[in-house]
């Protein structure tokens, strides 16, 4: 069981602090914050999510810049504690619509009310927003989302596609809208995080897709839902050693997957449909993992030429391998440069807008930002490096690898699809909004040089 729960701001202030068992000192929040802030152990400057200090175990997760912390003196399951912290954050988000420091401070009484029901004397009672609804009486004070800068995954859907009601995902599951009645709608998001490592000669060394089908339901009366996936979906690849396996004729092969507890798999083996009664709030219906080869959305080409003993030129080329109907956004390309680099002159393509390039002196990194890349296009950056001392040996050993982060809405490399989303109808007129959205994000997208 846990002993205390607290949320700290980035500066280390208590936003909420709940002591469940009273066997850990009250000053634990301060002790914790000091330890995390000045963490230094075996060359490691980032505190691990779990550590022990004078017999007290501290668990923490970072959520939107806030620290969610639990303490205990017991030898607890770390997965349990960390999962719980993450769930508490999710429940709070369900209630507040938008989770950040300001909304938490405005609603701390509601948060206390939630915490009282989620954990009793250190033991978890429930983390289901649905169940909690009947115990909670405070009304959330909802922040005006429109005046806030977009944050986190919620922002994924805001750009690029005007039809998306981007603010909906930041809507509280309990708050009433100004118009009175709640809008009947359900969101199903297929989010895929991809990791690719290219060798210096451009071959794919490793690739993986970590996917989630995320659901957020605002339906009243909890109707049953059927979610149909690709007919040709198969699970399990036996030994995963054959990375080079052919990509098959369009079949989607998952290495493995897991499901939310509300999901019934009775007909999954027959027709690949998931049946569930979605509870209120946001939750992952299914997590899956794919190591089957897929077409990477971007090809990265790097060319380094030495130009005399104190100079070199780097040419970076990014080619978008997806259809032109799709646009990637918030692209960042990074590349560490040799430590003796003093100055870099950039040459962007002429006439292009929404691109910047920068040399970060402090960590000797090249950063290339692009607002968007349309499918099929290619972009080039030329950088002229100046060194402070004469260069010996191989420059590639000191520079690189090139890494990339990006978001591509309405695109998923796995080709996993929600074929249909069926909602059990109460009346003929009942026709709630259904949003099925796809998005791909870079997790670790790296090209060695």
């Amino acid at each position: 069981m846990i002993s205390q729960f607290f949320v700290l701001s980035q500066r280390g202030d208590n936003i909420v602090f709940r002591d469940y068992r009273g066997d850990v000192q009250k000053a634990s929040a301060e002790i914790f914050f000091r330890k995390v802030k000045f963490w230094k152990e075996d060359g490691n400057e980032e505190a691990p999510p779990v550590f022990n200090l004078d017999g007290v175990n501290y668990f923490h997760v970072k959520v939107v810049g806030l620290l969610f912390v639990a303490t205990t003196r017991n030898n607890l399951s770390p997965s349990l504690a960390l999962e719980l912290l993450q769930r508490i954050a999710r429940v709070i988000k369900d209630y507040l619509g938008l989770l950040n420091e300001e909304s938490l401070r405005k609603n701390f009484v509601l948060v206390y009310e939630l915490l009282d029901e989620v954990v009793d004397f250190g033991y978890v009672q429930t983390t289901s927003t649905e169940v909690l609804k009947s115990y909670i009486f405070n009304e959330p004070i909802v922040l005006d989302a429109s005046r806030l800068p977009p944050l986190g995954p919620a922002s994924l859907f805001m750009q690029g596609n005007k039809r998306m009601p981007g603010t909906a995902v930041t809507k509280s599951v309990v708050a009433h809208e100004p118009g009175g009645r709640k809008r009947e709608e359900i969101f199903v998001d297929i989010i895929e995080k991809i990791s690719v490592t290219f060798s210096s000669s451009g071959y794919i060394l490793t690739s993986e897709i970590d996917g989630t089908i995320q659901m957020k339901s605002y339906l009243t009366g909890n109707p049953e839902i059927k979610l149909a996936l690709n007919d040709d979906l198969s699970i399990g690849r036996g030994s995963i050693s054959n990375y080079s396996g052919s990509s098959g004729a369009g079949a989607v092969i998952l290495d493995d997957c897991n499901f939310h507890e509300s999901v019934h798999l009775d007909s999954f083996d027959v027709d690949r449909t998931l049946t569930l009664v979605p509870s209120d709030g946001e939750f992952p219906v299914m997590n899956y993992r794919i190591t089957q080869e897929f077409k990477p959305p971007f090809i990265i080409n790097t060319l380094i030429e030495e130009a005399g003993s104190l100079k070199a030129e780097v040419v970076l080329k990014i080619r978008a391998e997806f259809p032109s109907s799709i646009t990637a956004n918030t692209i960042l390309v990074e590349m560490p440069l040799p430590s003796c680099t003093t100055r870099v002159n950039f040459e962007l393509e002429s006439g292009i807008v929404g691109q910047t390039a920068d040399f970060k002196e402090s960590n000797k990194k090249l950063e290339w930002n692009m607002k968007k890349i349309v499918g099929g296009s290619e972009h080039t950056l030329r950088a002229k490096l100046n060194f402070s001392q004469e260069w010996h040996g191989n420059i590639t050993k000191e520079a690189g690898p090139v890494s990339m982060t990006f978001t591509i809405p309405m695109y998923n490399p796995s080709r996993l699809q929600v074929k249909y989303l069926q909602i059990a109808k109460k009346t003929k007129a009942y026709n709630p909004y259904r949003w099925v959205r796809y998005v791909t994000q870079a997790n670790s997208y790296v090209a060695r040089i």
Partner: protein, 861 residues
């Protein structure tokens, strides 16, 4: 449930933000304290004014004020002075107000017991409210007051709560009983609450009520078990087949969190046959697909422990859990992945061959935190074998070039470790030597240390290595460990390295600038080794080194220099034999963690032990080690119901464990705790030093004395019996007809340990044995061979004259029912103390007789 209140917030936006701002400026304003004090008394006045008011809108104003009070409380301002006003204002039907008031009261009651009394009235009244929500909330607050002299007010409401028609109230009451127990154990026991909980646990329709009853009972009974035999029995009863099956059959009704608790409970259940194992595993198979990592890990723990004694099934479990674990690692937040990855790491370390084809999953991603990368590197090192080494080392070399220095260092160490564990190191040595050519200081330093270790194991590579190492200027090496490694190589390969004497000489010249004593020690030894081979060139350096060494302020350096000096004075050839004897290549470098510790961590799967890579006793205070911790269990057994001196008992526990573990360990392995540090009050223990083991033996005899004192009356009979036994061998052979023992042991040390923990003692006795038998017992091995001929197998043994300790196991010939024996023999008093635990309690008496007859025949043949 219908919401009781529907209201809109009336206060303006600016007022709420005031509260927020107050929190923000905590540190910014130095006059903060005094300002707040004024505000608190202001609040007090306002609250007082509202106390009796029935005016419309009062509740909204109250809410506003309560909110302010709680926000102060959160940031650590003492608002206990408004206690009575808060209580006065609590007379309301507004549930939000009530909740805030409960929160406030719960926070301050403990330290203001006299004020807490004020709340009893309204809480008791609320416990009878017609709304179950209010009943539940009030009961929870009542139990959370934590004031010892108010417990009498708790009993009635708790009793009603447990019988309440509403499950929410029962849920709260079940935890309430535990809270009461922590305030006043006697009140809780006197009111017979545990019995009520047990009834509820087995009958209630609501799964959360059942789960809360279980957690409360587990805590209460394990705390009681140290003083009450009945509680110990009740605790054992939780692990009985009917209860376990009751929970297993209902498992899907429970919330995911309660499922974790049930799974933990089942993991402690002792299975009687293999059909049962498969039934349970089939029932729980789908839990492995759960999105909650805690459920999956609890299931995995259960599966692993169930199949420990079934080798091939155990391996199948490993194969089965691979994919779910990898999926958990890649879904979820980085923190959650880390927790799962730590467990995967443990499994990989235990069975690397099972994961050898999955090595690509352990490649590091550039954006992962260092603590994740470090785990992955260790896994990559572990799974490296003939078929994948090339690829793994290639990948590791990429990390060595990384700009991230700690990562580069770890990667070099990983390459080095792989080199040390492989047979064909040809290619790896080349890679390592290439690192030296990268001319990065940290890379060179780290590599030198590895090359040194490599040469100690594979002296045949010296030619290639020396050629490259010879090119490195010692001036470029700053890190002590690397410098020491380089100096060691200069001394060891003085013959092959042409410049060796001169490099050493220049190092000696800079003696005073060398800050590390380790380096100076190495330098002394290297110079003298060099001298033995190339005396004329080194003589001068040696003289200088010895002079500098003798004058050194560091004690070890001084002593070593003086020692070398006198050795040389005595006889140069003797000195050479001592300082530089012919060496054998090191075959295996000692593991930093011995196998006992690793097994213990494995036993504690799905706990912090896995993340910290330390068994729980190293980082947890005893009272928090969990209801079923190994040591605690043994502790109870050795004390029995008579309360012996607590301290002795506790130490005895440690000693017990270790003896049990010691015997099963590989003898070649160093038994020290290595790097695990004694910071956590770990008992310092080193099996190789006689001093330590002597101290333990003293403990054993002490403990025996105390047992003798307290149980003298029953012992007298035991002694008589024992004497009769050894005197009349005619008694002995009888029972063997009734009980046939298997020639095979049937249990390995791991299973033995687990079983020993789970079973209760069925027989505990002290007997005397024939002195002739004792005389034959020159070594523990003699007795274990003898017992083996009677189909009683020694699992572990230890000690030296006059105290020997043994763990034996025997198994019935026709069924997997085992007998476990702990046996302490004192060879000077000819006394034997033994405890028997058995799967089948009915036959333990028969087995005990067989055991005694076997023991008493020792040495008589």
């Amino acid at each position: 449930m219908v919401k009781l209140v529907n209201f809109s917030f009336t206060f303006s936006g600016t007022r709420t933000s005031e509260i927020g701002d107050g929190i923000n400026y905590r540190n910014a304003n130095p006059r903060f304290g005094s300002i707040r004090k004024g505000e608190v008394s202001d609040l007090k006045m306002q609250l007082r004014g509202l106390a009796g008011s029935r005016a419309p809108g009062t509740d909204d104003t109250k809410r506003d004020l309560f909110k302010k009070v709680i926000s102060y409380m959160t940031i650590g301002i003492d608002v206990s002075s408004v206690f009575s006003e808060m209580v006065m204002c609590s007379a309301t039907s507004d549930i939000v107000l009530k909740k805030m008031c409960y929160l406030y009261v719960g926070n301050y009651a403990k330290h203001n017991p006299e004020l807490a009394l004020l709340t009893i009235n309204f809480l008791q009244r609320d416990c009878k409210d017609e709304d179950p929500m209010i009943r539940g909330l009030a009961l929870r607050s009542l139990c959370s007051l934590g004031v010892a002299n108010l417990v009498e007010y708790l009993v009635g409401p708790l009793n009603n709560g447990l019988k309440d028609g509403n499950s929410y109230v029962r849920m709260v009451a079940a935890v309430g009983v535990l809270k009461l127990y922590h305030i006043s154990a006697s009140t809780c026991m006197d009111a017979d609450f545990p019995a009520l909980l047990k009834h509820l646990m087995l009958k209630d329709k609501d799964a959360q009520v059942v789960a809360n009853c279980l957690t409360s009972l587990q805590e209460i009974w394990s705390l009681e078990a140290s003083t009450s035999e009945e509680a110990a029995r009740e605790r054992e009863a939780l692990l009985s087949k009917p209860i376990i099956y009751y929970f297993l059959n209902r498992i899907k009704e429970f919330s995911e969190w309660a499922q974790c608790i049930v799974l933990e409970l089942v993991a402690k259940y002792v299975i009687s046959d293999s059909d049962e194992i498969f039934d349970i595993m089939n029932l729980l198979e789908d839990r492995l697909q759960h999105a909650n990592g805690a459920v999956v890990l609890a299931t995995i723990k259960l599966f692993l422990h169930l199949t420990l004694s079934m080798n091939d099934v155990h391996q199948q479990v490993y194969e089965r859990i691979k994919a779910p674990l990898l999926t958990l690692v890649s879904s979820g937040s980085p923190e959650q992945s880390y927790a799962v990855l730590s467990h995967l790491h443990l499994l990989v370390m235990r069975a690397p061959f099972i994961f050898s084809s999955d090595y690509k999953h352990f490649y590091c991603q550039y954006n992962e935190p260092f603590y994740v990368k470090k785990l992955k590197l260790e896994m990559l090192t572990a799974v490296a074998n003939e078929s994948n080494t090339y690829e793994i080392v290639t990948e590791l070399c990429e990390y060595v070039a990384n700009v991230d220095i700690p990562m580069a260092r770890e990667s070099i160490r990983a390459v080095g470790k792989i080199a040390l564990q492989q047979y064909d190191v040809n290619a790896i040595v080349d890679r390592l030597l290439q690192f030296l050519e990268m001319e990065k200081e940290h890379v060179t330093a780290e590599t030198l240390v590895l090359v040194k270790d490599l040469l100690r194991k594979y002296p045949q590579w010296s030619h290639d290595c020396i050629a490259v190492v010879g090119n490195i200027s010692s001036k470029n090496i700053q890190e002590p460990k690397a410098k020491a490694a380089l100096i060691w190589m200069l001394g060891e390969y003085a013959q092959d390295m042409q410049d060796a004497p001169y490099i050493l000489e220049s190092l000696v010249e800079n003696w005073d600038e060398e800050h590390s004593a380790e380096v100076r020690l190495h330098l002394l030894t290297a110079v003298i080794k060099c001298f033995f081979r190339r005396a004329p060139e080194t003589q001068k350096a040696l003289g200088a080194a010895l002079a500098a060494g003798v004058a050194d302020f560091h004690q070890d350096v001084h002593d070593r220099a003086l020692f070398y000096y006198r050795l040389l004075q005595h006889d140069v050839s003797v000195a050479e034999r001592i300082v530089n004897p012919p060496k054998q290549a090191v075959s295996v470098f000692a593991d930093t963690q011995n196998s006992e510790i690793k097994d213990r961590i494995f036993d504690e799967f799905n706990s912090l032990s896995v993340v910290y890579q330390k068994p729980s006793y190293m980082f947890t205070d005893k009272e928090y080690r969990g209801p079923f911790a190994f040591s605690e269990e043994l502790g109870n057994l050795s004390i029995g119901t008579e309360s012996a001196d607590n301290i002795v008992a506790a130490q005895r526990v440690e000693e017990n464990d270790k003896d049990l573990l010691l015997g099963s360990s590989e003898k070649e392995e160093s038994p020290g705790f290595g790097n695990n540090g004694s910071a956590y009050n770990a008992p310092s223990y080193d099996g190789s030093t006689t001093g330590a083991s002597q101290a333990q033996l003293d403990l054993v005899s002490l403990d025996q004395l105390s047992t003798v004192n307290t149980t003298s009356s029953s012992l007298a009979i035991d002694e008589l019996l024992g004497l009769g036994m050894s005197a009349g061998p005619s008694l002995a052979p009888l029972p063997s007809a009734a009980l046939k023992l298997s020639a095979k042991a049937g249990l390995d040390p791991n299973n033995f340990q687990q079983k020993w923990r789970q079973l209760a003692v069925s027989i505990s006795q002290e007997i005397s044995i024939d002195p002739r038998g004792v005389a034959a017992m020159t070594t523990p091995q003699a007795l274990s061979r003898h017992m083996q001929s009677h189909s009683i197998h020694c699992i572990a043994s230890g000690g030296q004259a006059p105290n020997f300790k043994f763990f034996f196991v025997a198994q019935k010939a026709d069924e997997p029912s085992a007998y476990l024996v702990e046996c302490i023999i004192n060879s000077s008093s000819c006394k034997v103390q033994f405890k028997i635990k058995a799967d089948d309690q009915n036959t333990s008496q028969t087995f005990s007789e067989m055991f005694q007859s076997a023991l008493s025949s020792f040495g008589l043949a």
